[in-house]
Every structure is written in structure tokens, then in C-alpha cells.
Symmetry: C2
DNA sequence: GGCAAAACATACCAACCGGTTGGTATGTCG
DNA sequence: CGACATACCAACCGGTTGGTATGTTTTGCC
């Protein structure tokens, strides 16, 4: 009779299960092709539960994007790329971290919000905005390190936020090449070019 | 009674109209969200005509990707970036050309096959392959100029095809940022970073 | 223990989905 | 002229879609 709260593996609330299932399915087959029925089956809940937690499929999309922003924020906040003392080393460590996130399974390393916004940018302003907030918010989190690195190496004419957004563009583009070819290597290759770009911008030799 | 073949504006065959309508609709709202009924209405043909020309919706997707490859090949083949005598100038002119293709209307400058492959890479091998052929084929067309430019400036350790693919990744990623924000400027900004990368790789000052 | 509210489940619906049907209009070739 | 092919059409089909109406069960709190 001792408290066994949160011990049963299946007894988190349905909302969290739905969000997890949505993240997986949308990454695999896109937002539109993922049906509510399928989502419920994957999450092990009924349709009644779905529409108890989300007013519509679109609301689920918004929640999934917001959940993605929180999850990835936590992942990046706890990542080891913040450790180096030199800001440029932190930038390189960030890019290495992103590169090492690329694994064999394409749906496992590609970006939920990048996928979703491609589909719905013209049809769902709410989802589009949530995706925008996730991508641009993450870019913003890189600005302090990038700004410090650029300043330390006397780089002028490059705005830190612009470079941070370019990072995201390169990563998202690499994901597309990997999806088109089925080969994760292309996502890694684009990060390598990005590292070379940063190294030359700061006039330092390419690390590693 | 004199021959007036191909004079009536609406009397190209339905196939071409369907391909045009598909390109537009898929760029605006994605492949899955574009229904066959909608496609037929936009093309001004009936469903019967659709399934006369295409065995399935998936076959339409493949045909649209192939049609995209042909259309864009012709566009790039006739573009003025081939004119400069210096190969590096041709590479810069290519990037300028891509930058100038970016217009106000997002669905008008983004990439059909990049959009499609994001959605169906895991569900339709046939469409995925057609998109891959379009993207990687275009990258291949850049290899001669890039190879000559790299050789002329004694750049080692960079494979021309890898750089050509990086170009495509940056462009595709820029499209995603533009879709997420609603702002075409992000697509242009990423091309600017790409030009700077190429300039530094070849150790020449950034043109313009 | 009582009780309201939150958290689910069941059953159902109208609209829409991709695809098929039987048929017609217009060649075109011998 | 008849035989055959291509291009196209309106109506329809079974299944699926996102969404709802109406329960029942669990939970937190007094």
C-alpha cells in the first residue's frame, strides 16, 4: 500500500503519450498523413481521450511543436558544449554535438518542427508560428556564444543572430538531403562545411 | 478549316494542366493535403481524366517530381550564370541567380521536390527516388564549374560534388526558415553566407 | 464517505478520400 | 466504311477522415 505513484509505466497521463506518439509519427510520415485514429492507437488511448486533451488536430500540432521546443531546449541546455572556456570552442562543440546527434535512423534525428512547417506554413498559421518560435528560439540561444566568439576574433560585418540562423538553415537543409537520399551522411557533411566556414570566418585552423 | 492546331489556349492536354496545378498546390499545401478532387478542379479536368493519365496519386507525385527536374534543368541551362569566363565567377553568378529567384511569394520560389520529399520520404519510395534524382542531378550539373574554380585556386580537401550538395542543403534550409517566418529574406541571407564561404575557401575577396 | 470535476471510453456522424465504373466523343488507319 | 485506340466524363463505391454526443470511471478534496 506504500505510495507507488508514477511507478506504473503506462500511467502517465494520456496527453504526454499522445505528444510522444505524435512526435514519432509526424517525423516519420508528416502531419497531414498522420491521422487522429492512428495517433490514438499508437498512444494507446481512445479518440475520446484525444479530444478531451486537444480541441482539434491543429491544436495537437501546436502542442507538439511547443513540446518539441521544450524537449530540445532541455537537451541543449544539458549538453556538454557549454563547458569549454573559449567561446569559439563552445561554438565548435555545439556543431560537433549537432553532428553527433545524427544517427542511422532518419526519423530519429530529423527536426519535428522543420518537417511540420514545410507542410502547414500556408494552411495553419497557429502551427507555423509555434514552429517558428521553436526554430528561432533555439537560434537565439546560440547568440551569446557566437557573439563572444566573433568579438574575440575581431570578426566584423556578421550579426550573431544571422549566423545562428544560418546554422539552422544548414542543419535543416542537411536533413532534407538525408531524407531524399536515405543517407544520414549528408546531414553530417553539411555540418562539416559549416564548421569550416566558422573556422575561416574567425581565421583559426579547423579543429580536429 | 485551315489547321488551327494548338491555338485554343485551353487545349493543351489535360496531363500538362494537371502537372502545373499539382506543382502549384503541392508547393502551397504539401502533397498529402492536396486531394485529387482539388487537383482536378484546379486543372479544370474531371477525375476520370486524372486517372486516365496517372495510375494513382503516387504516380502523379512521381510525374510532378520528374516534370520539376525537367523544368528546372531548362531554367538553369538557359540562365546567364554560365557566361563569365572565370569558373569561380560562374559559381558566384550561380549563387546570385539562386538568390534573385527568391521573390515575395513563398510558394513561388520554394522547391517542389524538397517539400515533397520531406513528407513522403518514409512512405513512398517511388516519389522519394524521383525527388532525390532531381536534387542530386541538379547538384551534379554544378560540379564542372565548382571543380574548375577549386582547381584554379588550389583548394584541396574539398570534393566538388560535396560542395555542390552543400549548396543545395543551404538553399533548402533557407526555404524552411522562410516558410517558418513568412519572410523570404532568410532564404537570401543563407545564400549570402554561402557566397562568403566560397570566397574564403578560394581565398578571394567577397564580390560586390 | 460524499461529491464535483477531470479523465477517460463508446458509439456514432457527415464529409471527404483515392479509386472504379460504364460510357461517349473524336480521331485515325486500312 | 468498319475496327480500333485515345482522351475524356458523370456517377458512384467502400473506407477513412476529423469531430461530436453521451456515457462511465478515476481522482482530489472537504
Amino acid at each position: 500500500m506504500s505510495s507507488r505513484a508514477a511507478s506504473s509505466p503506462n500511467k502517465r497521463n494520456a496527453r504526454a503519450h499522445l505528444l510522444d506518439a505524435a512526435t514519432k509519427l509526424i517525423r516519420e510520415k508528416g502531419f497531414t498523413a498522420t491521422s487522429v485514429d492512428e495517433l490514438c492507437a499508437a498512444a494507446g488511448v481512445t479518440k475520446g481521450a484525444f479530444f478531451h486533451h486537444f480541441a482539434s488536430k491543429e491544436a495537437l500540432g501546436v502542442a507538439a511543436a511547443n513540446n518539441w521546443a521544450e524537449t530540445t531546449s532541455a537537451l541543449f541546455a544539458g549538453a556538454p558544449y557549454h563547458l569549454p572556456a573559449d567561446p569559439l570552442d563552445r561554438v565548435f562543440a555545439y556543431l560537433d554535438f549537432r553532428r553527433d546527434l545524427v544517427s542511422d535512423e532518419i526519423a530519429a534525428f530529423t527536426c519535428l518542427v522543420g518537417t511540420m512547417v514545410q507542410e502547414v506554413h500556408g494552411t495553419s498559421p497557429a502551427i507555423r508560428q509555434a514552429c517558428e518560435a521553436s526554430i528561432f528560439g533555439h537560434a537565439q540561444s546560440l547568440v551569446p556564444d557566437i557573439a563572444a566568439a566573433l568579438a574575440a576574433h575581431n570578426v566584423h560585418g556578421v550579426q550573431p543572430i544571422d549566423l545562428a540562423l544560418h546554422f539552422q538553415a544548414v542543419l535543416q537543409g542537411g536533413f532534407i538531403l538525408s531524407k531524399a537520399s536515405g543517407d544520414p551522411a549528408h546531414a553530417k557533411a553539411s555540418v562539416a562545411h559549416l564548421k569550416a566556414y566558422v573556422a575561416m570566418l574567425c581565421e583559426v585552423p579547423l579543429p580536429q
